[in-house]
């Protein structure tokens, strides 16, 4: 994307994505530190599949993804992919953000950091509330806090505004890391709402421009 920034965090080369069957071929993408990309496209066009392929949770059907070594990814899934019946408090959910390759046992320090992160997102009083009892907007902020606590180099958000009212959407904008600040992460956000990208100073990008759709 932004070629003026030197540090490349992630490169997708001739990528073919899909769950068994290809959805989209020949995707070419380069993400630099500080990039802010708003990914758009119709339902079923492969936006979420692309995000999962970039994170490594879904294997590409062709091509490859190169990540800069030690790139930390923060991921905010669609709320419907999270099992909200699970008995976790907001604090436990955010503390889990510390977990990753080689980091398996969060301690007191991690819980304190999680509490501070919740406070930053205005959720200090909900720390011990069960995740399932929170409102949609609060849950979304908890999931965002879980991603941010990792101090990610690359923040990926999959439809973070689904089911949120206009006011909460505006709040979400305030909680995302600011662009241009030192060491600010690259952000890739999927949404149907193009006006959201304008508000977040993001470069809107149609998934169709990244690669060819496979017509089944």
């Amino acid at each position: 994307m932004n070629s003026s920034r030197s540090e490349i965090l992630l490169t997708a080369v001739h990528l073919t994505i899909g769950h068994g069957k290809p959805i989209r071929r020949n995707i070419e993408l380069r993400i630099h530190r500080g990039d802010r990309i708003g990914l758009m496209g119709p339902n079923g066009s492969g936006k979420s599949t692309l995000l999962r392929t970039l994170t490594g949770t879904l294997r590409p059907l062709g091509g490859h993804v190169e990540r800069r070594p030690k790139t930390t990814i923060g991921y905010v899934p669609q709320q419907r992919n999270v099992d909200i019946l699970f008995p976790q408090t907001a604090l436990e959910t955010v503390t889990a953000g510390h977990l990753g390759a080689g980091r398996l046992f969060p301690g007191r320090r991690e819980r304190t950091a999680a509490l501070a992160q919740l406070e930053q997102l205005g959720l200090r009083e909900c720390a011990l509330a069960p995740f399932r009892t929170l409102s949609g907007g609060q849950r979304q902020r908890v999931l965002l806090a879980r991603a941010l606590i990792r101090r990610p180099d690359l923040l990926l958000l999959d439809e973070p505004t689904t089911g949120l009212d206009a006011e909460t959407m505006v709040q979400l904008k305030d909680f995302l890391p600011r662009s241009g600040s030192d060491g600010s992460p690259a952000i890739v956000l999927i949404s149907h709402l193009s006006e959201l990208f304008t508000g977040l100073s993001m470069t809107p990008l149609q998934i169709g421009k990244l690669g060819e759709a496979v017509v089944s």
């Binding site: 490594g56 991921y75 899934p77 099992d83 008995p87 436990e92 990753g100 069960p130």
Partner: protein, 283 residues
Amino acid sequence: MNFFDASFLWKEAVISSVLLAAACAMAGVYAILRRVVFLPAALSQFSGFGVMFAFALTEAAHATHGDGTAIPLAASFCCGIGGAVLLGWKEERSGSRESFIGIVWVLSSAFIVLIAGAVPQESYHVEDLIFGNAVVVAPSQMWTAIFASGAVILLHVLGRSVFMFVSFDEETAGAHGLPTRLINALLFGSMGLIIATTTKTIGALPAFAFAILPGCGALRLFSSTGAILAVAGVSAGLCAFAGYWISFARDLPTGACAVTVTGTMTLLMTGIAEFHSRCRNRV
């Protein structure tokens, strides 16, 4: 004779039951949360199939050593743990785990009946190996139970955050760099180990009850994972002890007694949770 005066009769059985019940309940919390509540039943049956199959195989090969139980027992553990690891490793696709559990349960049950005719061992001996015997526990079985339950409890205390993260939101756990398939295999493998050991030691019915009932009660009462695991484990251990006590005092079947006490405890916990919830709503 007083229950405690007769400790020489029940010491091994009670120690094994209390520890196995606690470990079963902790691992069972995940079986409930991941909607695979019949996994313990299927694993019990599959490890029983392992015993039968090994008996039939050693008989056909005339390869019986010692009292002839070492190979069937090893086969039972291999089936219990192997089946569970495989299930954890397998990627979940719209209810595929539930179907797999159903298939394993029904086929294992059928094969046990089919193979039983070919096994000439005394029937009570084979039955004890498949379904355990809650009354008589040998010291060697007790040590196996101590090691297996100790390992599972330790694993679930230390790995609680990771297991919960992968169970709650596997997609993000994977994106954050956790080896989710390996963690799932370890989680399900720990269930396989404890269910196979419990089934062999005290029986399939108590194994299923300890794995599911205390977790159900604890989940109604608490919202924090640490509290749920602790309450499920401790209440299961207490129920196992109370079950033995009542069984001894009233001369009732031990396994059924332990299950009834566990069920009563679960109903009590559910009642308290319901009462608490109504009081809170009224306020």
